[in-house]
Structures are given as C-alpha cells and as structure tokens.
Amino acid sequence: MTMILGMPLPVLTGQLLIGLINGSFYALLSLGLAVIFGLLRVVNFAHGAFYMLGAFTAWMLGQYLGIGFWGALLLAPLIVGLVGAVVERTMLRRLYDLDHLYGLLFTFGLALLLEGLFQHVYGASGKPFSAPDAMKGVVRTDFVTVPIYRGWVVIASLVLCLGTWALIEKTKIGAYLRAATEDATLVQAFGVNVPLLLTLTYAFGCALAGIAGVLAAPVFQVSPTMGSNLIIIIFAVVVVGGMGSILGAIATGYLLGIVEGLTKVFYPEAANIAIFIIMAVVLMLRPAGLFGKEY
C-alpha cells in the first residue's frame, strides 16, 4: 500500500475528502455571510439557524408531504429565502442606521429563537435523512473511496459558489449590488430600488445557507443544534479570510476545511480547534485577514 508521511494513502485521501466536504459547507456559508455583510453590513449570526432551517424544511417536506430529496433541494431554499425576506422586511431593516453590533445582536436573538423552537418541537436528537437512492453507492479506486453523495456535495457546492461569484461579478443585478455596496445613496439616486435589493440580498444569502442545510442533511443528521455549532467555525473562517472578498471567502472555506481534515490524520486531538488556532495565528500576523479590508 502506498504510504505518504507515514500514513496509508487511502486514510489520507479519505480525510482529505472529509475535509473537502466540511470545506464545501464552510465555503457556502461564509460566502452567504460575506454577500450579506457586503451590502447590509450585518453579520448574520442567524446564518447557522437558516442552515438548520434548510435541513429541517427538507426533512419536514419529506416527512409530511412525501417530497423527495430533489424536490426539497429546490423548495427548501425558497422557503428559507422567504423567511429571510420576511425577517429583513419586518425587523432587520430598522437596524441599518445603528451600530453594526445591533445587527449581530438581533440575528443572535433570532438564532436562539429558531434553535429553541425546533428543539422544543422536535427534541435535541438528530433525525436521519437519507440521500437519494441513485447516489447511495461508493466509487472505489486504489487511492480513495468516495461515497457518490459526498462527491456530489463537493461538486454542487463548487458550482454554487462559482455561480454566486459569477452572478455578482458578471451580471447586471450583481453590478447593482456591487455599486450599492460602494454607495447605496448614489445608486438609489440613479433609480435602483435599493431597499428591494437589500431584501433580495438577505433572502439570497439565507437561501444559500438553506441549500447548504439540505445538502448537509444526508451527510450529518438533521438536528436543531447543527447550525449553532457550525456558525462559530464560520466566524473563524470569516475572520481568517476577511469579509471583503467573495472569492476570498470561498477559498478560505475550502482551505480551512482541508486543513481541518488533515489535522484529523496527524493530530486528531487538535482537530476541533485547528481552525481557531489558524485564526489566532492570522490575527497575529495579518490582523485584517488573508483577503481582508477593514471596515
């Protein structure tokens, strides 16, 4: 068997793959966080809760309406996005003129509310959610064993990330969004409906978290606390990458996922805290983050 750095190759690639999958979720979530922060200047603490909401919506669609994975993958993000839009319209928009910390505090409260509600109704234990039948097998080669579903998650998240990047950088609505990020008042003066743009951006960011939740449902279990555990890691990712750049958020997400996966191989005790240690080191060396601009 091939050995690299004293590790059998399949073990190494297996952990790399797990790292890549975690990284896919880190990238999707930190991307949504960056898009929302870029325009709204709100650090969306509820991002983890929306991710959980996506997973739970998928589970509920299957449980109560008999809708399968693919239907849920389409519907759940729409529902989560709609919830996000309602939250933005009714509450969040009152906080734009205040210190940014109030947005963080508000969304923190929202996260507690959602998590508590689901925990109350569905209990703390995880709910199993199975991958579609067509993706249940594994692909085996000499170097690596890839469960098909996990491979699909990595590809889907890459497509979503790059698609979002293209939407923001290459389309007209993306140009409006970038312009509004620079100077919202001026863009409004040009006749762009900025309040609508804000609502759509928040809804879009939440929907991205919702998609990530649906994708995650078969990999991890669907549980009320799945989001809050993740959001803290995402914050560390965002501190490392800086929220100024879309591609930066994506790259940092994958990178830290892979580093975390590799830590599991070489020093498993530190796997939980690897990302936080990297964050601390980055703070010492480059306080603004790898791709960061300070706001």
Binding site: Y102, G109, L113, G116, L283
Partner: protein
C-alpha cells in the same frame, strides 16, 4: 458606538448625588435583610450573575467592546476553583483567587488577540477563541468532560468560617458582591475609566491625544475577565459544581442579554437585567416552556424596541432621574 444614548457625562458623574448615597446604603441594607424572606441560594445565584453582567458591562458599557466570549472566563474560573477545592483541597479564599487568576491569564491571552480587531470582528474573534476554550474543556482530563467537577465541600473561609452554612455563605457573598461593585464603580470613575470612555466615544481622537488605545482596551478586557472569573468562582463555590454549561457560548449570550435588557453603560442596569433573566429562567425551567426561545425573543425585543434597556429607558423617560 453601541452605548446608551444618555449615559452620565464625565463631569457630573465624578461625585455621587446625596440621594444616590442614601439609595445605595438602603440597597445594601436590603441585601443584608433579604435572606430572611427569600431563599438565600437564589439570592446568591442572582449575585453571581449580577456580578458577571456588571463585569461584562465594564467592557461593553464603558469600553464599547462587545465580547461574545465571556463564558470562557466565567466557566474557566469555575473549573479552576472547583478543581482547587476538590483536588488541591485548599481554603476557599485561595480557590477563588486561583479561579480569578486563571480568568485574568485567559483574559490577557484572548484580549491580546481580540483587541487587534474592532467592532463586529472583535465580537467574532472573542466568540471563536472562547469556543476553542470550550473544546479544550471538553477534552482536558481535569474537567471530567460531560460530568463536570462535583462532589467537593466548600471548606472553611480563612480556616474559620464554615461555608457549609448557607447563611454564612450568604454574607460572604454579599460582602464580595458589594466590594466588587464598588471596585467596578471606582474603575469606571477613575482616570483610567475616563480615558476608556473617551476611547469608546472617539478612538481616533484618543489616539491623537497620545493614548495608546490598545493598552486601555486590553486593560479593560483583562479587568472585565477577572470580575467575570470572580463571578464564576463564586458560582462554583455556591453550587459545588462546575460544568461545560458555564463555558458554553450560550452563557456568553446570556450575559449579553442581561446587560442589554437591564441597560448598557450604567451600574444598575446589569444588576436589574441579571435579576430579570435569572428569575425568568427559574420560572420557565418548571413551566416546560422553551427557555432558549424566550431568551431569543427577549433579545429581539430588546434590540428592536428598547435599546437603552430598562434602566436606560427609565432614566430617559423620568426627567427627574436625569440629574442636571
């Protein structure tokens, strides 16, 4: 900046109003008599959290820094105190000192990293670092993981006062509580506190006046961590128990809520807020109603409807309270 809009101005806050002195003395008197009517353990729990929230408010209300990681100091000190009592079997006063010392050390390390960023990034960094500490506590052998440290006796304070008696413990708590609040009040009104508030109001101007802003922020952070640690040590002493709950990020959120609900940037605010949140939790614990959801809803209501907090709103609405 995230502060109550009408906090006391520097000049008028130097000297307490005579009516305020009377009020403070009356409150201390009430504190001494309350255990005659109210279950002392509940009162002591209230004091722990009031002190915790006051420590947090020292940083947020006067330094303008929102820490999302204060549970690390609270829970970390609780662990050290519990460990000291159980394994080292030292006197409770030394066990508390050890807890506070640990919180100060941890505060220095986290603070050194966190003050490098501002605003929301500061909040995220403190949250991430305290989560790292949580994972450390989860895995380190001396914390006993999910079981926590339990089954130790409180010992004798100075080798004389037996703290197993809850009334003795109550008066020790009351003394420490009043002394700590006085210390926080002194810090806020000291030259250090004034400069800290100046940094909060206008960091650039404070820098241009020649103050090394980072040091003042770090100083406030470490002091706040120390008082949070004292609160945690007292809690461990009271319940003879130290668990992961105290280092969890939920605890950091709770202390933010207490401070926000009571009112940021006043001495009374966090105490009122802590009292309300603890009472609410006690009520909800038996009602079967989801505590987290209620706390979340309270959070949202605070941020949307009364950002000054209860004490701040009262001050704002009752002009007589605003001493001119």
């Amino acid at each position: 900046m995230i502060v109550a809009e009408d906090y006391e101005s520097v000049a008028e806050s130097r000297r307490p109003h005579p009516a305020q002195r009377v009020l403070v003395l009356a409150l201390i008197g009430a504190l001494l008599l309350l255990p005659l009517w109210i279950y002392p353990v509940l009162l002591m729990k209230l004091m722990c959290f009031a002190l915790f929230a006051s420590a947090f408010n020292l940083l947020l209300g006067y330094g303008g820094l929102l820490s999302f990681g204060h549970a690390a100091f609270f829970g970390g000190a609780a662990y050290v105190t519990a460990h000291a009592l159980k394994v080292w079997e030292i006197n409770p006063e030394f066990a508390i000192l050890a807890g506070v010392g640990a919180a100060l050390g941890l505060g220095l390390v986290i603070g050194l990293l966190a003050v490098r960023r501002q605003g929301i990034y500061f909040a995220m960094v403190t949250l991430a670092l305290s989560q790292m500490f949580y994972f450390f506590c989860l895995q380190a052998p001396f914390t006993h993981g999910e079981d926590g440290i339990q089954g130790f006796s409180r010992g004798k304070l100075f080798g004389l006062l037996d703290l197993a008696d809850s009334m003795t413990l109550y008066y020790v708590f009351a003394a420490v509580f009043v002394a700590s609040l006085f210390a926080i009040w002194r810090i806020v009104h000291s030259p250090f506190g004034m400069i800290l508030q100046a940094v909060r109001e206008n960091e650039q101007r404070a820098i241009s006046l020649g103050y090394s802003v980072q040091r003042y922020k770090l100083g406030a952070f470490v002091m706040s961590a120390g008082f949070a640690g004292l609160a945690g040590s007292l809690k461990a002493l009271l319940f003879q128990f130290a668990t992961l709950t105290d280092v969890n990020w939920h605890m950091s959120g709770e202390v933010i809520l207490m401070t926000l609900l009571g009112g940021i940037g006043s001495i009374a605010g966090p105490i009122v807020g802590a009292g309300l949140v603890v009472t609410l939790q006690n009520h909800l614990a038996t009602s079967g109603f989801p505590v987290t959801t209620v706390l979340g809803a309270t959070f949202i209501a605070c941020v949307l409807l009364f950002r000054r907090g209860i004490v701040g709103e009262l001050r704002h609405r009752l002009p007589a309270w605003r001493r001119k």
